[in-house]
Amino acid sequence: MPKLTIQDLEKIRAQARFAMAVREGGEFRAKVNVHMGTCGIAAGARAIMTALMNEVATRGLHDVLLTSSGCAGLCSQEPMITVELAGRPPVKYVNLTEAKIREVFDKHILGGAIVKDWALGIGSEKTDT
């Protein structure tokens, strides 16, 4: 195997750092929850999750938490996500596509402005936990 130069070492460092960025911790700028019940997955939630993961990865972000959860009850409007910026109420988006995800990512998750066209509403249903 060819020996590394210092430039090669820095290249490896940059790539590995990129893959490990989410371990560095700190406060979260945003939590994004993809609803992945059977309905969500059938409507393409898997592609939505992949698109979100790509956005986080391309930008090397470590303060955006991606989680998944079950059906939110509005099966007809899947795929859905819930975006929760630190200190603000959660916002649900419905009928998503990969293109819409990119816009929500830029404008809301990074920019802080709700994309009203696809937002269902603000807040979450109450739970007893």
Binding site: V22, R23, M36
Partner: protein, 610 residues
Amino acid sequence: MTEQPRTKTYRLHLMVCAGTGCVSNHSFELKTALEAEIRKHGLEDEVSVVPTGCNGFCERGPILVVQPGDIFYQQLAVKDVPHLVEEHFLKGRPVVKHMYTPPEGKTPVPVLSDIPFFKKQVLIALRNRGLIDPEKIDEAIARDGYKAQAKALTEMTPEKIIAEITLSGLRGRGGAGFPTGLKWQLVRNAVSSNGGQKYIVCNGDEGDPGAFMDRSILEADPHAVIEGMVIGAKAVGATAGFVYVRNEYPLAVERLGTALRQARDYGLLGRDILGTGFDFDIQVKRGAGAFVCGEETALLGSIEGRLGEPRPRPPYPAQSGLWGKPTCINNVETWANVPAIIHRGAKWYAGIGTPTSKGTKVFSLVGKINNTGLVEVPMGISLREIIYDIGGGIPGGKAFKAVQTGGPSGGCIPKDKIDLPIDYESLSAAGSMMGSGGMVIMDEDTCMVDIARYFLTFTHDESCGKCTPCREGTKAMLDILTRITAGQGVPEDIVLLEQLAQAIKDSALCGLGKTAPNPVLTTLRYFRDEYEAHIRQKKCPAHVCRPLNTYTIDLRLCLDKGRGCDVCRRNCASEAITGRKNEAHAILPAQCIKCGICFDVCAFGAVKVD
């Protein structure tokens, strides 16, 4: 170069502790179960399971930390995995029942950095613990691994490296605290006959009872040690190095071997490192587990294939070490500090600690303490902060009595010195020493004479036998201590112990012999009254030395609470207990062999010990 394409990213990283402590609590099985469950839910492209080195909070293992989020799960079992994966990693709901609740608290603390055990720690030697897979060099590189090495090899002269280490104030972490920069300068200045060969050695022969700092560093971040040694090699002008590590540390040996192979493959070790023309390679030498081989001259002898026995110094290894060549030998933790100093600068490092002791120190916290584990703290922190804030205090609400630092070569420090700021000088002024970092906590139920006897048993067993003071002197001291704990001590014993201790200190060949009397001397200094109680009143105040105990039965408790349950009589091996079921029982002193079984089996506290 690695199995996966480097750009592969995951939304969740499950950092499973795979240090020896958690591994013995089945963390490898936990990892396998997690991976299987994650595949079952089709999450394998989103969630990655990463084995790491020791997290530090060994008491609570096996440990899993979820990133991002820093969610700390403890004491997980394979049976918990399906629920955990479904709730947290699939549905995004962290599972409260596996979180940690501090002893005095009621609510669980979900986030690692909020847990008191971790709050006061400052990580330099352990900077990568829990954050990298030690078997993947790319992960070490991502966390600035080999950056200091590249800097040292391309931008720094040997003199500049030594000046930086000197300025940092780094001192040997193996115990004696010799200034590292000065040692390197001595090796650099030493003239080597025969082609100028010099050697670098890493001392990983960790033998103190209850100590596991070096093992944990080698398991969690072997690359830090390798990188430190390469930097040291450039500074002193060495081309070959050895890591001497105990064979009873199989995981450390394996991970170090993997790390060396990966570093060699990348050209970070071997010929023409990083294309700079500098050659240096490292071999692993496995020790058979003799305590004396932690002594540097014995260690060097063992590497050469000779008997692991110390030899007189001078000449010091810096002048005449391995095969008579100048040799720079430092401990695992010392080497692990070196890259951080070169990378972040001597001034940064010297800004941490006390005027004479800079940086941080890794301690293993064991004994009568709630949070058994591995901690790294800035020099100058008080014992109180380590024992109460980090260690969580003494189990069962018992009173703290003393702490043994420096292992069998160190000494005990009593509770009135609990606010002592820890550094090399303060510990030796207290009669103990920094040592390699073992901290054995003792509570009110510990007998200090018995502890001294325990450590003497250890040093006597491990004495190599080469010099008479250590071989015969520790035996003579041990005999006296054994006699005292058996109730046969005489008043002259204390003076005799002190004289023997002084004679051994003055005349033993190596550091191990010279320091072997320390546990006796410090317990005599701080707990002389306990020795006197054993000798004069024939009493052990902590009731540990059973031959000195008197057992009696409280009639009222026996009848009222126990209703004469008869368990003590049935268990008594010497038929020393009288009484029938439902009646009061009593012990016949003449027949009692003081085994203490009646005390152990009585469920009503009716058997009293004095």
